[in-house]
Amino acid sequence: MARLIATRLLTMVPMMVLVASVVFFLIRLTPGDPARIMVGGQRTSAETLANIRAAYNLDKPIPVQYGLWVGDLVRGDLGISFRQRTDVRTLILERLPLTAKLAAYSFAISLLIAIPLGILAAVKRNEWVDFVASLFALLGASSPVFFTAILLILVFSYRLDWLPALGAGEGGVDELVHLLLPSLTLGVSLAAVTTRITRSAMVEALTQDFIETARAKGLSARSVVLKHAFRNALVPVITVAGLQFGFLLVGAVLVEHTFGLGGLGSLLIEAVQVRDYPVVQGATVFIAAVFILINLAVDVLYGIIDPRVRLGGRAGA
């Protein structure tokens, strides 16, 4: 297991270099001159533009710019935002707590809905619970998040006046209350997929022969389902859940907009709009690193769940 982690951390290096390079060149391929955008599209002398370009190294050939950026990156320096004139790392760290909380909160809500519902749907296959779960998954997956968001705001803020619709609150409990609707919006849409995955993995697990052994031992239905079947169903579930968690970092942007929250997703989108190269690059590299670490965590979980992964064994002997 330690070997697996070490190998994966090492392979992270070339992957990060690749991501950094791709984003560096892609952003420079998109039309739009950062210097012109910085001056706000006003008529400006060529001299001023040249000064701006010089200040941000934009006058240098692209390979040189690339070298400078990679050099800084290796030292952990993500550069200075064109627009906000602030350290990119500071910008990311400012936005990160809100995004992390929103992601964790939505993720928890999604699992709390999806796993019990998926298990129940599999156990009571073709009964009404199963149909309700299917209906929920269909609605959750097919209604866009901004629609769900508006619906939730209408019901819980406007009609019932139970929950705030805008902003991130004042920290602590107030923040939790403010994040409830956005998290619910994201959680429901994620839960739609996870419910289906959990259900199908459980249906598969419940038809395995060892389930019959567990029943023949006299175990209760609860032990059979939760101890013997569910653990076997976990691998596909955490695979999907891991991807979703990564997705939450940026994918939350629509929800952030709707609820007036400024998270990492919003930072990235705004930066792309104004061609704020250092922010786009920095945020992308950061998010890629988180993605890779989540995948690593998922792989470690596979090993914890399944001894055949951990011990590298195969059937027979």
Binding site: Q208, D209, F210, E212, T213, A214, R215, A216, K217, G218, L219, S220, A221, H228, R231, N232, I305, D306, P307, R308, L311, G313, R314, A315, G316, A317
Partner: protein, 354 residues
Amino acid sequence: MTALLGAAPLLRLDGLKIHFRTRGGDVRAVDGVDLEIRPGEIVGLVGESGSGKSVTARSIMRLVPMPPGKHVGGRILFHGHDLLGLADKAMQELRGGRIAMIFQDPMTFLNPLYTAGEQVAEAIRRHQGLDRAAARAAVVDLFRTVGIPNAAQRYDAYPHQLSGGLRQRVMIAMALSSRPELLIADEPTTALDVTIQAQILALLKELQAATGMGVLLITHDLGVVAEMCDRVAVMYAGRIVEQAPVDVLFRDPQHPYTVGLMNAIPRAELAGVAPMPIEGAPPDMTHPPAGCRFHPRCPYREAVCSEDDPALRSVGEDHRSACHFARRKQFVLTTALAEIDRSGLATAIEESAR
């Protein structure tokens, strides 16, 4: 241990009918099975695939999922009490406690994510309420009893780290952990290598003798029956067609299907005797043939066979057959089976025991 003739039955199936609902109609998998197991005897249940043996075995444990299965009629009497009337909780107590089961493929029937020891300990803790440490000690003891070498280390082995023979020994340890009165063994050696088969059968026989439990051994292998069983029931198309003590059945079979099964066995040691497979295939159990279900494949059939469904009737001491012509016609056995098969398997078992 020999069968106690006339002893009160440990288990009695009384006209048991279990059908499965499908789109094409009800499949009559078990369709009126009468069977008795007395304390301390090994009863073989023989038949082709699809004859309903496994469903019969599973229905005793109430492991048949319902739906799609449904209980259409009959009773399952364990010490005279109908198991079909038991509440789920009481049935769970019985499963793995007084009635235990081992299965065909020890690879797929063990959970790959838990150690062999944990899976056996789970049964012990469930039925005997032992704590973790005591259960562990009990499992290691059981592992020794069923002949698992390095028992203490094997506790922590995962199924994929064990050989097929060891896995089946783990399954046997699990089944025997609460000293069941009845063990149901569903083709326990079919998935194993031939040499391992003999070892496992020898172990089962030895454990049966030591504990005095009753055993229902499901198999399609008449050689296994000859070596292991006190009595045999032959199953065809959801019913028992013949039932007799094992010596009687091999010497004096009174149902054409039993005779057909015996004639179908390839006999390498008998030069010039070709195996004669039974013609045709088992019937579609959504629409079984009228009259005797075997009549379309029976070389001895007459008009009455397609009209009248023969009941299981006595044709000798402790010997019953469901054929209109039992004792009325001479069924031709191409070989006298009993002696050869028994000595052959017995040698294999002796060798493996060394």
